[in-house]
Symmetry: C3
């Protein structure tokens, strides 16, 4: 009974709002996601971080030196040219391609009531067609109590 209630609570999808300011911009959202985990009361389990968009993704990478995110933004812009010949009429095919390269979601483990990230790991919303108002969905599947 107790654990069912806990699971049901944890499983509600929470929505974070993120405002991006550049066309390509990786935004560190770790503290917002972790706050959602703590609020859920889940002690251990899995946290899904998911964007409902097709020109933005989610990745886990270094958040300690902000230059890493800047280097990654530039690298993705070099790897997938904005000016290649594309069929899609909106002119943002490069943004869609970059999104599939990083992926639209990540799963992070929960332990001790917090995100179980490595020392240098942060969670990033990867904006590839900003500036825009974006949503990030967070869902938690807690383990059952023993």
């Amino acid at each position: 009974m107790t654990h069912s209630a806990k699971r049901a609570f944890g499983s509600q999808i929470q929505t974070l709002k993120v405002k991006t300011t550049r066309r390509t911009e990786w935004v560190n959202i770790t503290s917002d996601v972790n706050r959602t985990v703590v609020a859920s009361g889940a002690k251990s389990g899995v946290c899904y971080i998911y964007v409902p968009h097709t020109t933005a993704g989610i990745t886990v990478n270094e958040g300690d030196d902000p230059d890493v995110a800047r280097d990654m933004e530039a690298a993705f812009d070099r790897m997938v040219s904005r000016d290649a010949v594309y069929k899609h009429y909106e002119g943002n095919s490069d943004s869609h391609i970059k999104t599939s390269l990083v992926g639209t979601s990540q799963s992070v483990l929960i332990e001790g009531g917090h995100l179980h990230l490595g020392q240098w790991q942060s969670i990033f919303l990867c904006e590839f067609d900003g500036p825009r108002n974006r949503e990030v969905k967070v869902k938690i599947q807690p383990d059952l109590a023993p």
Copy 2:
């Protein structure tokens, strides 16, 4: 008791069959996956979409304008040359590399008995070494009833 039975039902792996027709071809499989979710009876939870292949992957991206998928197919073929010098004797190393770029599985949230996708999101099987007969495994982990 009720919730255990529900979980056990939802957790059976379902297999979808997909026939591809070109060497590189992204096939929209959203409606097939969603039909599996609805049939499972799961109201909320997580849906895993997984390919058991090493030259095909799964991605979530725009399905509204089919030109986006065509642009992505061409971009992956440009990014990873088929004709570079490779060691693997089968001559499809480019297909393996593209597969690791998109990944072999995706997790999509379930809410209200359906896939909880964004407005423009679709699920694609990414064929990189077709034409072939492919399988897509779908597994659902429903939340427990409160």
Copy 3:
């Protein structure tokens, strides 16, 4: 009661140790991960394979011919140049970028008490800044017994 205990057992995070020997090196860790699954006693469910690092990732790809991994290592080194102009002071921005291309985790289904991999699929730790001592976190969410 029985199934709660089973879930609680399965959900403990296990840590695998991997020693890499080259700067870019994909190491096949399938048998170690599978041993963890078998030891957990989980008959069906989902297995999360997660690295807590920011210059190494996880991918699922062909493990039968070791030349495929060698081709993939070379392809990633070609795709993301080590010598581009980067801001990050440590000089390993290319390693971070490659990590986000493959991702820091993979989810693999469990069926019949084992990893439910395709015939040619193996799980690889993708080292992009070795040689180093790496950790791989394995977490299992078993299905509940009916």
